[in-house]
Symmetry: C2
Subunit: 219 residues, 2 copies
DNA sequence: ACCCTTATTGACCCCCGGGTCAAGTATCGC
DNA sequence: GCGATACTTGACCCGGGGGTCAATAAGGGT
């Protein structure tokens, strides 16, 4: 049973299992990963797994939820409150690409095995989309983002593109360095969102001026 | 034993099984679909499955390969040889979106379960990417496509976006009509590829003038 | 020292599901 | 009609892997 009282030692063990699971899920997929693989990797007996988790799916859910939270924090941290909407969008996109790439191991699950994560994740994903859409609407209001298309669709496109390239980078399909790739994604997103090339160029310049705000060093 | 000699009846039976498998894979995923589900849906005994296919994975592979071929034909048919590169790119993108959406059932597999399709599919996907990249290069040469980014990356972006929105449409996340959605994708792709908005707008106009070339009615 | 809760073990259970098979039926060529 | 080959059946096999459990150790609070 899951919500047991854990000692410090217990919490640590649980984390070990989470780490092992994350690695294995990412490497060989959810279905292909045996609980016995996980406990073996963590160096504990099988029964212990069920001391900390209800079942195999529970560990997956826990991983997914935590990653979402971390991503949100990173995104928030990357955005400069002073900056205009479009620049903040680009900052968020760049930060996301970097974070997803650095935590590639974790994010592969979310993409590949979305069937297994019905309720909790959807919610947080929707929230993220709403946030991005709000930013886009802001940009449309000040004229920096095209208003030929609805903000929701554009948000979907931005988020989708970011996920796409994180995926490509993780799987080795794209071998650019992180800097090169996040730069490319920024340009791409800028082009997607703007009808006016001058605005796009100016925003990219602003983004560059900010420098990349040391996106490593998670919580 | 797979490459048996099939009578007309046999070929039909095999197709029934393929259809059933496609539907079930799409509805509930590859891993979650039992061979017993497939034969039940097709209304035959379990043993018959193994008369036509070596194993569960084989039927999946066969489905995947066939879909790729059909997609390629549709894409080729949608492109107007006379038209400039950028317009042809948009035509191909629109046709792909429509085809993938109409054959949503099939395409979900390719996205979700890419682990199971190592060699054959990759090859054909790579070929498709090379084709798109070539078109993009052509567009870069005549100045209609931005040359701030390499054609390979842009090709990846275009193909990825098309797949993305087919996915969203299939899963009901986007409820636009096919026409609306393919129109949006065309605009998006045009913006992604062009640094110059005027070029983008002109190409979209050209695309619209062609009309949507009745993309239903597969071979 | 004692007891209660947490932590840990590994053998075991058991069912699900992929794959087999021996046996039957329909069909076709001749 | 007859043999041969294609087709079809459903009971069975069997291994893997998710999940259980009784026993034991280790803390840690009083």
């Amino acid at each position: 049973m899951n919500d047991r009282q854990h000692t410090a030692q217990g919490a640590e063990r649980k984390q070990q299992l989470l780490d092992a699971a994350a690695r294995l899920f990412a490497e060989q997929g959810y279905a292909e990963t045996r609980v016995s693989d996980i406990v073996e990797t963590a160096g504990v007996a099988k029964g212990l797994f069920y001391w900390y988790f209800d079942n195999k799916e529970a560990v997956f859910r826990e991983l997914a939820v935590e990653m979402r939270h971390r991503l949100r924090r990173v995104q928030a941290a990357a955005m400069d409150d002073e900056a205009p909407a479009l620049v903040r969008l680009l900052q968020g996109a760049v930060a996301s690409v970097r974070f997803m790439a650095e935590n590639a191991a974790f994010f592969s699950l979310l993409e590949v095995e979305r069937r297994n994560v019905p309720d909790v994740l959807r919610e947080s994903t929707e929230q993220h989309l709403r946030d991005v859409a709000a930013l886009i609407r802001e940009g449309q209001a000040d004229g920096s983002v095209t208003d030929t298309d609805p903000a929701e669709l554009l948000a979907l496109s931005v988020v989708g593109t970011v996920g796409q390239f994180s995926h490509l980078h993780r799987t080795g399909r794209v071998t650019l360095s992180l800097d090169e790739m996040s730069g490319y994604v920024a340009r791409l997103v800028a082009r997607m969102l703007t009808a006016d090339e001058k605005v796009a160029r100016a925003s990219l310049t602003a983004l560059r001026r900010k420098g990349t705000p040391t996106p490593a060093a998670g919580a």
